[in-house]
Symmetry: C2
Subunit: 188 residues, 2 copies
DNA sequence: CACTATACGGAACAATGTTCCGCTTAAGCA
DNA sequence: TGCTTAAGCGGAACATTGTTCCGTATAGTG
């Protein structure tokens, strides 16, 4: 028995359109990058732009909504990796995964650092859910004496994002510059 | 006696307008960032947009023209630093200088990696003149056994640019993430 | 089945990069 | 010095985009 608070039920067509928009956005982002025109997404969803903006106050919110699931999964992976690998390996593996996530989303990296207020929601999403995950990894590796402990997780997260625009190499090996950055972290 | 090849001399007002545009662009870029509207730059120069586009085929060319001097100076600094410092120090100092240059130009870093074809001229300018400078520094430091020698200078240049968007700290100390990257380079 | 709040579509608006073109004027020449 | 003419100019006009607005359609509710 749901509370009697709701004045009305959400319209069925509204829910459908919302789903259609998310699906369309996923498709279009993959095809044309995160900067794809709103009209293109609306068209792909078979919906007017007005409907798009009714469901998402602006592009950034839509982008955020589309990637939330994947970001949450990435965050969750940190704990799993930590449970099944030595701290340093867990950190490396997780960073590689994060790198691949960013590199895979055309234009995400650029959007993240664009400074364009239209994309304000993205950094918040990333730091909010990935920040704690990375912090856990860094703490564990630092406790094991593998890496220095004077690095701000959020800064590192941002930095790795900055370096992750190149398409990932087919063999799955991480971006060489990210590797360099991680080497800088290591205590030798 | 100049050659008789020139069908006509460049008009005096054209040359003046070009100077005015460069000056105006420098001013506006400093005030509003590299993404400032073309109209704003034209207005600041007291000139129509048509004139702007007559002198520069697109925004990127204008941006490139404005920064060429400074970029050339930065490239030249490499040789000087190499002559007056141990290789490793020269490298550090130069990177710091480059970092400050990028960080100082609002939006330059974003423009560089935007992938927007409108800015294609910028990476070419940077890699073209700064690439050789950095190569010389890396070669010297590698020869001295200070750093690994398996790093692509252009990739490193790009990476440092990617990490240099934050405003430089007032004390002139380099970006911590750039520092980390350089630590990764070092042979310990 | 009627009523109404919700949601919709898409025209309209604003900002921006870039192109076009009729008018102006500096250079070259007599 | 005055003419001719091509170089150069200004800014309106066009195309693309993000976002807002509003008259119309309709799902939920009683």
């Amino acid at each position: 028995m749901t509370a009697s608070t709701g004045p009305r039920k959400v319209r069925a067509d509204a829910r459908q359109n919302l789903d259609a928009l998310l699906t369309a956005a996923r498709t279009v982002f993959a095809r044309s990058g995160v900067d794809a025109p709103a009209r293109e997404i609306a068209a792909e969803a078979g919906v007017g732009v007005g409907t798009l903006y009714r469901h998402f106050p602006n592009r950034a919110e839509l982008v955020a909504a589309v990637f939330t699931t994947e970001i949450d999964a990435t965050a969750a992976a940190a704990a799993e990796l930590l449970a099944s690998h030595p701290p340093k390996d867990a950190l490396d593996l997780w960073i590689t995964r994060f790198t691949r996530f960013v590199a895979t989303k055309q234009g995400l990296s650029a959007a993240l650092r664009s400074g364009d207020p239209a994309y304000d929601a993205l950094p918040a999403l990333l730091t909010g859910t990935l920040g704690p995950a990375l912090t856990a990894l860094l703490d564990a590796a630092a406790a094991a004496g593998d890496i220095r402990n004077d690095v701000d997780p959020l800064e590192l997260l941002q930095a790795v994002g900055d370096l992750s625009h190149r398409a990932p190499s087919p063999d799955g090996s991480p971006n060489p510059m990210v590797r360099l950055l991680l080497d800088g972290l290591r205590i030798r």
